[in-house]
């Protein structure tokens, strides 16, 4: 188990480094950052001054290594746009994004578990097909479009929820649904498959033969076993939800990390952008690692493979 964890950890670090390198390059390749920072109408001298001030005149590998070195020592640099240290700016927004991620995950599970169970219990019936349709819809609808639909219904027509902002719990309702719905189908299909397999197991037949009520058989005996792989998937999905919050936070003007990422891209605020990408990729990698370890712990066959 120890060797397995070490191997996965090494791979995780390599992935995080690769992501940071790609993000660094992509941001640099989208036009001269000095011109973007200097703004419309800047003269060549102004642009040259910006280039020197921020060190954009040095070779890219040098810039990358210096940035990575500083970040690893805990120095996140200063935001070019907001002119404040990047670390407090990023960590102040992390709370909102984590809250949104966890709420969306909870929503996705709350939606997918009953639907998955229903689909498995009524396999191949119209109920199963309805659940499948809901899942397909969740994956097919782009989340920004679904977000606008929610705004149309709950903010404009019914006037129940505020359109945008992050001041009250009501502000989190629609972003949670929009983000969580997209993650739900994966859980639902996993639960459905797991339940179908478990429901055919001998011990379930035994439980039924003993005359236990159907609900007890399904929820106590079957679901407990079918839900195990979902725990591992949940860790990965949380990472995905945190990364995927950029669009949702931008639409709902939710003051989180995704919103900050959007602003940093717009303003070519490299120190903030790079550190957000690195932070999100590290979170994602750690969660994937946790998921791998959990899977290996639950299923010894994976450790051997």
């Amino acid at each position: 188990m120890g060797g397995y964890i070490l191997k996965r950890l090494g791979l995780a670090i390599a992935v995080a480094l690769a992501v940071s390198m790609i993000a660094f390059l992509l941001l640099r390749l989208s036009g001269d950052p000095a011109i973007a920072i200097a703004g419309e109408g800047a003269r060549s001298e102004d642009i040259e001054m910006v280039r020197k001030t921020y060190g954009f005149d040095r070779p890219l590998p040098v810039q990358y290594v210096e940035w990575l070195g500083k970040t690893l020592r805990g120095d996140f640099g200063e935001s070019i746009y907001f002119k404040t240290p990047a670390a407090p700016l990023i960590f102040a927004k992390l709370e909102t994004t984590m809250a949104l991620g966890l709420l969306s995950l909870a929503f996705a599970l709350a939606l997918s578990i009953p639907l998955g169970v229903l689909a498995a219990v009524y396999r191949n019936s119209w109920i199963d097909r309805l659940c499948l349709a809901l899942a397909v819809l969740g994956q097919a609808l782009p989340n920004f479009f679904f977000a606008l639909l929610l705004i149309m219904v709950f903010s404009i027509t019914l006037r129940w929820l505020p359109v945008s902002g992050s001041d009250t719990w009501q502000h989190f309702v629609m972003p949670t649904i929009a983000l969580g719905y997209y993650a739900a189908p994966a859980f639902m299909r996993l639960i459905r498959a797991g339940m179908i397999e478990v429901l055919e197991a001998d011990y379930i037949r035994t439980a039924r033969a003993k005359g236990l009520p159907a609900s007890r058989v399904i929820f106590k005996h079957a679901l407990r076993n079918a839900v195990v792989p979902v725990v591992a998937l949940a860790a990965v999905q949380l990472g995905f939800l945190l990364g995927g919050s950029v669009v949702i936070e931008t639409i709902f003007a939710l003051d989180g990390l995704g919103y900050l990422a959007y602003q940093s891209i717009t303003f070519k605020d490299f120190p903030v952008m790079q550190n957000i990408v690195l932070l999100l990729s590290v979170i994602y990698v750690v969660l994937t690692l946790a998921s791998d370890v959990a899977n290996a712990w639950l299923d010894p066959r994976i450790r051997v493979a």
Partner: protein
């Protein structure tokens, strides 16, 4: 890549359809009138609210509402009126003396006097303090205190537009407070003399202004009428519109024409459109190394100008509040004129004839760079196609486009320019024809004329020099002046709101109906 673009176009269409549905389902207003608060949403957050340390429109708007300038330009008459300065006089070509208003107080209680002016001007003029838009301040040599309410300002060179800048971006800070907290402190807790004071500011999220009840009576701006203004930074335009439709917003700006047209049908909303100082034009690279050597021939440049149906594009695409321009400047700017300059009517037959004469009877292939108002660029491409010029669109970020221009890699560029709302042609035409890196013509005679206009304080000398420069540019078709760009505002019907060409939202003027 093409699939990806098509997919994105599909998604945009879907979002558009949904937005149309939003318009159809909207109900009555929940106005900000009842709590006397204007809720204003804007898509960009300023990097700092200190007006010297941002270069975004909302920063300029906050600057004018929270701070004051020495001089105020009346947006209706373009007349300069004393604001923090009672009077001023041009002592010589490089010196202006100001008599300051007495009894004005900053929001923190600090008195406004000569120290405020001297400290502010000397601070911003020092390049070490890194004011964001250097062009706004790099003409200032120094400010000297002559008395408690008297100041002398010296410019580095002859700078005729000084008063225009002092009526625009150059606001006055409180000397003691600014010396103590600097730009960072002004950003955290902003203090000005303006009609509104900042009561809450969360960087990147929102800023709340409240009426300054102690605002000085003689200000040409006048005191604020509305009690509170909440400015929220909402990046997504659909969300901004949804806030308006749900009755939770009172004002948004820079609304695309199609959305504004639909918003006009919503009972609790009004659409106000206005011309802005931002002009659209096409740069034609006629330098020796141009990627499209055909552009070196004046007949080809004239053909391009004749090929574009500007009247029709203005009417059908750009929209109300726009007009066709014959020279590359905004008509209200000092020195801007099309008098005597060649005019090029829409005439595709003549364009084809000119192309044939220049040796391109079948037209030629080229590339056009653009960075905003893509639908307008596409209309231009369509017009050029009709006379045989096949222009491939290269739509990119502003920075990338500018890179290409400066590297000499761009042939045609569809540009826009807002002159930083400076109502003087020196903020416009010299950028493109003054011999710097954005000048893709490099005509020495034009450069000399512009220098003459920039370096004189005699209005007649200036006017004549600029007129000759603009005439030469037009006669040689060095560029294609296109049109002025309008801005669409969507506001609550309860709000009395006027749009101005300088894109300044004068919150202090607003009242409820």
């Amino acid at each position: 890549m093409e699939n990806c673009t098509r997919g994105r176009t599909g998604l945009r269409i879907a979002a558009g359809v949904l937005l149309a549905a939003l318009f159809a389902t909207t109900g009555p207003a929940l106005a900000g009138k009842k709590d006397d608060t204007v809720r204003f949403a804007y898509d960009q957050a300023p990097e700092s609210v200190d007006p010297f340390f941002n270069n975004v429109r909302i920063g300029v708007i906050i600057g004018a509402n929270v701070w004051d300038t020495l001089v105020y330009r009346d947006p209706n008459t373009s007349e300069y009126k004393g604001n923090l300065a009672r009077a001023w006089k041009q002592v010589d070509d490089r010196t202006i003396e100001f008599d300051l208003r007495e009894g004005v107080k900053f929001h923190n209680g600090e008195d406004f006097d000569a120290d405020s002016v001297v400290y502010t001007l000397n601070f911003v003029a020092d390049p070490a303090n890194k004011v964001t838009t250097q062009a706004n301040v790099n003409w200032i040599e120094k400010a000297t205190k002559l008395g408690k309410y008297k100041v002398r300002l010296t410019t580095k060179q002859v700078f005729p537009a000084a008063i225009e800048y002092l009526a625009g971006p150059v606001v006055m800070h409180p000397a003691k407070y600014y010396a103590e907290v600097g730009p960072k402190g002004q950003n955290t807790k902003p203090v000005g003399t303006g009609p509104f004071k900042v009561v809450n500011y969360v960087p990147g999220k929102s800023i709340t202004l409240e009426k300054n009840t102690g605002y000085f009576k003689d200000s040409p701006k006048g005191a604020a009428k509305i009690n509170r203004v909440e400015i929220r930074f909402i990046p997504d335009r659909q969300t901004q519109m949804a806030e308006m439709l749900s009755g939770n917003g009172d004002l948004i700006m820079h609304v695309p024409k199609d959305q504004a047209d639909q918003a006009a049908k919503v009972p609790h909303l009004q659409v106000v459109s206005g011309e802005t100082m931002r002009i659209a034009f096409m740069q034609l690279n006629s330098l020796d190394g141009t990627p499209t050597p055909a552009l070196k021939d004046p007949r080809v440049r004239k053909a391009i100008t004749h090929a574009i149906d500007r009247e029709s594009i203005v009417k059908n695409i750009v929209g109300a509040g726009s007009r066709v321009l014959n020279t590359q400047c905004f008509p209200s700017q000092f020195g801007c004129t099309d008098q005597g300059a060649a005019r090029y009517a829409y005439d595709p037959a003549l364009a084809k004839k000119l192309l044939a004469e220049a040796g391109f009877p079948g037209g030629f292939e080229t590339e056009i760079f653009a960075y905003r108002e893509r639908n307008q660029t596409e209309a231009i491409i369509n017009n050029l196609q009709q006379v045989g010029i096949k222009a491939k669109l290269n739509f990119s970020q502003y920075a990338a486009m500018r890179d290409a221009i400066r590297a000499g890699k761009a042939s045609l560029t569809h540009q826009t320019w807002g002159s930083f709302s400076v109502n003087d042609v020196s903020a416009s035409i010299p950028v493109w024809f003054g011999g710097e890196s954005d000048d893709v013509t490099q005509d020495k005679e034009v450069q000399d004329l512009l220098k003459k206009g920039n370096n004189s304080v005699d209005p007649n000398v200036r006017k004549q020099a600029y007129q000759q420069a603009l005439k030469k540019i037009a006669d040689n078709a060095y560029s294609v002046p296109l049109w002025s760009l309008p801005v669409y505002y969507v506001a609550s019907k309860d709000l009395n709101f006027t749009a101005y060409a300088d894109e300044m939202v004068r919150l202090w003027e607003m009242t409820w109906k």
